[in-house]
């Protein structure tokens, strides 16, 4: 048997094939067994959009958007909710699920006995969660457009932006799950996610806050996602977008590297 790969390492095709086999497993399980998980993941942010955008929007009126011009509250809050739903989707997929497969179902112990290694597992799970965020973001964006909350063709860029938010939080969630010791540790995840949702300039412009608090909010990991989506959906992209993209990319890569190291240690001691 000719195995040139012995000296050269696995081919690129093989490197891509391995994680995709685990991604396929996740689709297989989720599409067949739990379609309602997908439905609820889609529905929840849209309910937020309707309730907060339309309901509260009527009371609030107009607020200043990224360019300084006044925009209807619903159009202001919608991109914030889009970024949040990407974060929540990633955290939902990449925390308790990962912990269960790691420690309870021992799924990964079976997987590392095949050609797949710990790195393939991390890539597959983060990739799968990110793809899910991408799908959710697409439906969410279409709903925004239907409700008239989209102001420009730039809005299409919300899709990669929300996907990047998903990738960053999926990596972070995976990394965190590798350090968790029991189910109660997951309360801590909610303790982080909930304030991020409420305080990342999701519901009001950053300018409402005193300067020192603005600096704090800008450092929060959800803020760049919210700001990015808002710039795009309201049609006011600025140079700061590059900064946000770098912030989220660095977060995704750092957390990805922590995930890779930690899961290697756990699965192949």
């Amino acid at each position: 048997m000719a195995r040139s790969s012995l000296t050269l390492g696995p081919s690129l095709a093989e490197r891509a094939r391995r994680p995709s086999a685990l991604v396929a497993r996740n689709f297989f399980v989720q599409v067949r067994a739990v379609p309602y998980v997908w439905a609820s993941g889609l529905l929840e942010p849209i309910l937020y959009l309707l309730s907060i955008g339309i309901g509260i929007g009527h009371l609030v009126g107009k607020v200043p958007g990224p360019g300084g011009a006044l925009v209807p509250y619903a159009a202001f809050v919608a991109p914030g909710l889009l970024a949040t739903s990407a974060m929540n989707g990633a955290i939902y997929e990449c925390t308790t699920n990962i912990f269960a497969k790691l420690h309870w179902a021992k799924l990964y112990d079976a997987v590392v006995a095949t050609p797949l290694g710990p790195t393939d597992i991390a890539v597959a799970e983060v990739g799968f969660a990110t793809f899910r965020c991408f799908l959710y973001a697409g439906v969410f964006l279409a709903t925004m457009a239907a409700l008239g909350d989209v102001r420009s063709w730039w809005a299409i860029m919300c899709l990669p932006a929300a996907t990047l938010v998903g990738a960053a939080f999926a990596s972070a969630g995976f990394a965190a799950s590798c350090f968790m010791r029991s189910w109660t540790d997951f309360d801590k995840v909610q303790m982080v996610a909930m304030p991020l949702f409420l305080f990342s300039a999701t519901f009001y412009p950053l300018s409402e806050l005193p300067r020192w608090l603005q600096l704090v909010v800008e450092a929060l990991p959800l803020y760049p996602g919210v700001a990015l989506c808002r710039q795009f959906s309201l049609g006011h992209p600025s140079a700061s977008a590059f900064g946000y993209i770098i912030y989220l990319s660095v977060l995704a890569l750092l957390a990805g590297e922590v995930s890779r190291r930690r899961v290697t240690k756990l699965l192949t001691p």
Binding site: R3, S5, L6, P10, E14, R17, R18, A21, L22, A24, R25, F28, V29, A33, A105, K106, L107, D109, A110, V111, V112, A113, T114, P115, L116, G117, L267, T268, P269
Partner: protein, 309 residues
């Protein structure tokens, strides 16, 4: 390495921090044989298996699996191995046949090929009627058989089984032994760990006895019994704590004597004669049993302890 060798280890070591699980062992597994690691819990069997299975990096020594070094060619080695872990880790979210399908896809086996293999594997595991059932509904023995079938999905050259029958009832064990025996007949090389001496005697062509990270004896089951035990053993049972006292009384009645808290073992070539002498000595054990020597006695001789302490 000769072509007939599937695994060879020299000075193989594994430590976790200060703790040394495997402390410099040498062994060789030949093509087509059933090779066993016998030893109590914590002897280093599972750590050795994980190193051979290329899922745990060795700390020191040399190791070659299917002619390759697990440190460099782990994925290639794993693609040619079948692994049956100690704890069933079937995919609980999938049905019986989907477990085989999804696992086969991890190896990159084409779908059409896989479907054909699954029919055969379910038949081999006697699970054809359960193909669409959830894994959770299976009995312990069925789960084990499915785990073994899963380990065969890539048509491995070498199969690693870690404690294959631990926790199964006698009937399920015998069915499993039968399946493993038929695998052996088909020419596959099997490496297994066990702390059951009857399992080692039933299945293994050759085995090593491990204790505290070391190999303390090696050979075929028969060779080991011949070398480290006698033909027969007289087992005397006493109320707990009294066996050690009785040890002095029987000293000299057999080639060698050993005592646990509640039992004395007399190693002899003629069990009936020795039992008679014990009766004449005035000793009053609660029961006397004459039996053939087994691997358990080999372990006892080597360590002074029982296997499944």
């Amino acid at each position: 390495m000769s072509t007939g060798t599937r695994v060879s280890a020299r000075g193989l070591r594994k430590s976790f921090g200060d703790f040394t699980a495997v402390d410099g062992i040498d062994f060789e597994v030949r093509a087509g044989e059933v090779f066993g690691f016998l030893g109590p819990n914590g002897a280093g069997k599972s750590s050795t298996m994980r190193m051979v299975g290329a899922t745990s990096e060795r700390t020191g020594g040399e190791l070659s699996v299917l002619g390759l070094d697990p440190s460099h060619d782990g994925a290639t080695i794993r693609s040619r191995l079948g692994v049956v872990p100690q704890e069933d880790n079937l995919d609980l979210e999938l049905s019986v046949s989907d477990n085989l399908f999804v696992y086969g896809r991890y190896f990159g086996i084409p779908r059409r090929e896989l479907r054909a293999r699954i029919v055969d594997l379910l038949h081999f595991a006697r699970l054809s009627e359960r193909a669409t059932e959830k894994v959770d509904n299976l009995s312990g023995g069925m789960k084990r058989r499915l785990t073994i079938a899963r380990g065969l999905v890539n048509e491995p050259e070498l199969i690693l089984l870690d404690e294959p029958t631990t926790g199964l009832d006698p009937q399920a064990r015998h069915l499993l032994w039968d399946r493993l025996y038929s695998l052996k007949q088909s020419g596959v090389t099997l490496v297994l760990t066990t702390h059951y001496m009857d399992e080692a005697e039933q299945l293994c062509d050759r085995l090593v006895v491990m204790d505290k990270g070391h190999i303390i004896a090696a050979g075929s089951p028969r060779e080991l019994v011949d070398r480290y035990a006698t033909k027969e053993v007289v087992e005397l049972r006493f109320p707990a704590g009294e066996a050690r006292r009785a040890l002095e009384e029987v000293d000299g009645l057999a080639r060698r004597v050993e005592a646990l808290a509640d039992r004395v073992f007399l190693y002899t070539d003629d069990g009936d004669e020795t039992a008679e002498e014990v009766a004449h000595s005035g000793l009053r054990p609660t029961s006397t049993l004459v039996r053939r020597a087994s691997l358990e006695d080999v372990f006892m001789t080597l360590t002074g302890r029982q296997l499944d302490d």
